[in-house]
Assembly symmetry: C2
Homo-oligomer: 507 residues x 2
């Protein structure tokens, strides 16, 4: 019974609204009559509550999410198809996993990000969370199916309760396009392929010049260790350092000292290393750094970095690569090489200085993640790349808008039209034949549409052909076929129409 | 501070576990040191808690959900591509919407189904629910963007906290393929096209013989009214009647009387109508039914049904159509014609009697839904069809398994192999050229793989060509090209290799 009280209380607060009070009384009497459950009463089961809620209904998508219009979808599908064709070119197959995972499973891998994970309400049964990325579900899939070698791609949406920034293309629901190679192989060969994949995709999409920043968690850990960061604070220091670029080094340093509890001189000496970026020269310099040489882990990372640079040279992509010691990547699970691609765009046509925008792709090696799902701890080393398609989409959408390029969303080839009244049955019979022959066709859903309207529709939507039915044509056993672009019309014998349409569309 | 208490209480309950107590104390001291928030303590932030959770980690997908393997994905993509090509043939464009919607917005349209809606946890901010279907987000999209005419398709996953039945292909996360026509048009023309779309897709997928059952909510409402069901109980009676087929009429009747409060004689007289199914003959019979004639609504529905039958005859699909008065469809929002396709399959090769399985597609007219999202109540009549791709997938997957048909998941065209040691650099250079030429190529991620293993891999995965590097070939400036099927090898000059591979793949 007490489930009614909140309703009554709410009603007395707004006692001026008689309708509301009436609806509460109605809800109450429904309750008494039907002995409905508490749950059913909490859900507005009366008309009054319905009307009240409807008046307050806000028509929007949830914060940080958005719809995509047909025009946007046409561009997105073009992007996806380019990305998928690259993934397939590299021999990857695809899988799919549920949008949510068991909460414990996700938390295990996203400790540093746990506040940003969307949880489902406990409605009885398992505790679930929306996936935060596609890497953890992939690792769970490998561990669950005891797969030791796998090259897969996965294109799907992921969810983060982050501060959305529409201007920078950052959303709470966004799509990731992941390519990962799992298995124990000779060092840096699959890692190099992931970078080649990243390079091929960004080149193919033509969204502007880009730079791929590379680092290695082992080099970073070595730097942190020789600078005096305790092992237990490594992940934390990484996630703070990851903010560099978005905020200044001064701010990062302050966070390290004041929030993460590092000594000022420790942060200072980290700062000396993370300012470096470069190529072969930097690798040599670091190899000879007396302080860093004390870290065996850093030296391992640098040896592998040499190998990687060699392979990237063979792949012909070394020019877009930069070893960047400030790159940390936000995820806890990275264990080796990490990388991230940024677009370099001119701030204006007068200023030639390229400025850095948010990353459009990223990834790295995570050799321990699969084992963390396995009670026996069996290791399946992995390396992967994730294409941040939302930012690429934002950039390309802006480019198209500026170029005033027209995107066709429809593929319709023929409009079946009538020149006079009373040709609905004729149009329906004809269009049905066209559909069955695999021709993309539309007709107006009116009994007697005006010919002019039908022709105009074709010009607006880019439909190239019109098949026009009329009395004279009917009597002659022909259909009038109109070319929308040239406005030329010819009569085609009914039995040849499909053949003639196909012939024209092939051109 | 009180956020620690549950942890301590839990520990003292299981006081035999010293490790747990230690981890609690550790958590407690971490709390004192760092003054972390309540939230952070509830998330296991100590190593002890981590280890404890890891030991209990269950490796599974959430109840009622599943992963799809590359083999399954290959079949699914074949199905989707067939469905999409039909939607495009009918001139539809596509949109995308977020996986969750504002909770109030969903509840408004799924009152009868509200228990089955997945809610997100209240983590501050908006209250959200996972979408239950694609129809409500579509209607929200139309209302929000004030769109009056639209023909769109949408392929995406939807979520229902139902009792999953894996054997019948019923899941809590499942994919829907929706095609809808919005706009005020002449009666039954778009409705007929939706049925034509349904028919084309089920025919193209070749998943077996099917029957399309049709009814009209107005005819049903007329029947309920003349049988004595109060208006307010119409939706409820529909959702009960919808169970017919899954359970017997006796069980439906019992639910109507005992749970929904209908009089036994009312249920009895409904039973007399809903047993009927048929074609033109049944329409005529109902038009002349003295009792039903009293309902103007039913007569309107029957007039439209005549028109629809006429159009479906013109579309050449009337043979698979049956007017079935027991069809109710579960959704509250249907307002006119409703339909559902069921597969008819032989229970065994000896028994020719077709038995009915669950529906594989359904839909109907919902003229009021968009208006319900609009404070001004502007009406956008809609009709649509949803293809239940999971059940079709289950049937086709079984068929393939029985036929032992082999599905290729990879599209790789060339393996770049080495006949001797020390050809890693050569392989990397060559494969990079192939990729850049758009050829799908793979190589082993080993410095020195065995030739036999490389050739075996091609035979297993169906890669048709191998480009083999060796010292002799290198010296002669050629690459050995092997046809995997015939095992024939020829030497191709390095500069002609790409051309020769493309020539062979075109065949």
């Amino acid at each position: 019974m007490h489930s009614i009280c909140p309703l009554l209380r709410r009603a007395s607060c707004k006692s001026q609204h008689l309708a509301v009070r009436l609806s509460v009384l109605r809800a109450f009497s429904v309750h008494l009559q039907n002995q409905v459950t508490e749950e059913a009463v909490n859900q507005p089961s009366s008309l009054g509550a319905n009307a009240r809620r409807k008046a307050n209904l806000i028509l929007k998508t949830p914060k940080g999410t958005r719809d995509f219009s047909p025009k946007q979808m046409a561009l997105r599908e073009k992007i996806f198809s380019s990305i998928i064709s690259c993934f397939k070119r590299h021999g990857a197959v695809t899988i799919d996993t549920p949008v949510f995972e068991l909460k414990d499973l996700l938390l295990d891998s996203h400790l540093e990000q746990s506040k940003l994970v969307y949880d489902l309400k406990d409605q009885g049964g398992e505790l679930l969370s929306l996936r935060y990325d596609l890497t953890v579900p992939f690792a769970r899939y490998l561990a669950m199916n005891k797969i030791m070698h796998f090259k897969r791609y996965h294109i799907a949406k992921v969810y983060r309760r982050d501060h959305p920034s529409v201007a920078r293309g950052r959303y709470r629901e966004f799509c990731q396009c992941d390519f990962d190679i799992a298995g124990q192989y000779d060092p840096m060969i699959p890692d190099a392929e992931c970078l080649k994949v990243m390079h091929e995709i960004l080149s193919a999409l033509q969204c502007g010049e880009f730079l791929i920043r590379i680092n290695d968690r082992r080099i970073l850990k070595g730097i942190f260790t020789v600078c005096g960061v305790p092992d237990a604070k490594f992940e934390m220091a990484c996630s703070t350092l990851d903010k560099l670029g978005k905020v200044s080094w001064e701010e990062v340093k302050t966070e390290m000292v004041q929030e993460k509890g590092l000594l000022p001189e420790v942060a200072e000496s980290i700062g000396k290393y993370v300012q470096f970026s470069g190529g072969w020269g930097l690798i040599d310099q670091l190899c000879q750094d007396p302080k860093l040489s004390e870290s065996q882990l850093a030296m391992e990372g640098l040896e592998d970095m040499k190998l990687l640079f060699e392979y990237l040279t063979l792949f012909g992509i070394i020019n877009q690569i930069s070893l960047d010691l400030s790159l940390a990547r936000g995820m806890d699970y990275y264990s080796g090489v990490i990388y991230e691609a940024v677009l370099l765009h001119q701030s204006s046509s007068h200023c030639k200085e390229p400025i850095r925008v948010d990353s459009v792709a990223g990834g790295g090696r995570y050799d321990g993640l699969v084992a963390s799902f396995n009670p026996k701890g069996q290791k399946v080393p992995c390396v992967g790349v994730s294409i941040g398609v939302e930012r690429i989409f934002s950039v390309m959408e802006q480019n198209i808008e500026m170029s005033k390029e027209k995107i066709h969303t429809k593929e319709t080839q023929v409009l079946v039209a009538a020149a006079q009244k009373n040709f609905l049955a004729g149009r329906m019979k004809l269009i049905s034949e066209l559909w069955d022959a695999g021709i993309k066709a539309e007709m107006f859903y009116k009994k007697n549409p005006k010919l002019l309207n039908q022709l105009q529709y074709c010009e607006e939507t880019g439909i190239p052909l019109v098949a026009i039915l009329g009395q004279q044509e009917m009597d002659d056993g022909v259909v009038k076929l109109r070319d929308v672009a040239t406005r030329k019309e010819i009569n085609v014998p009914k039995e040849n129409l499909i053949e003639e349409i196909k012939r024209r569309l092939e051109k």
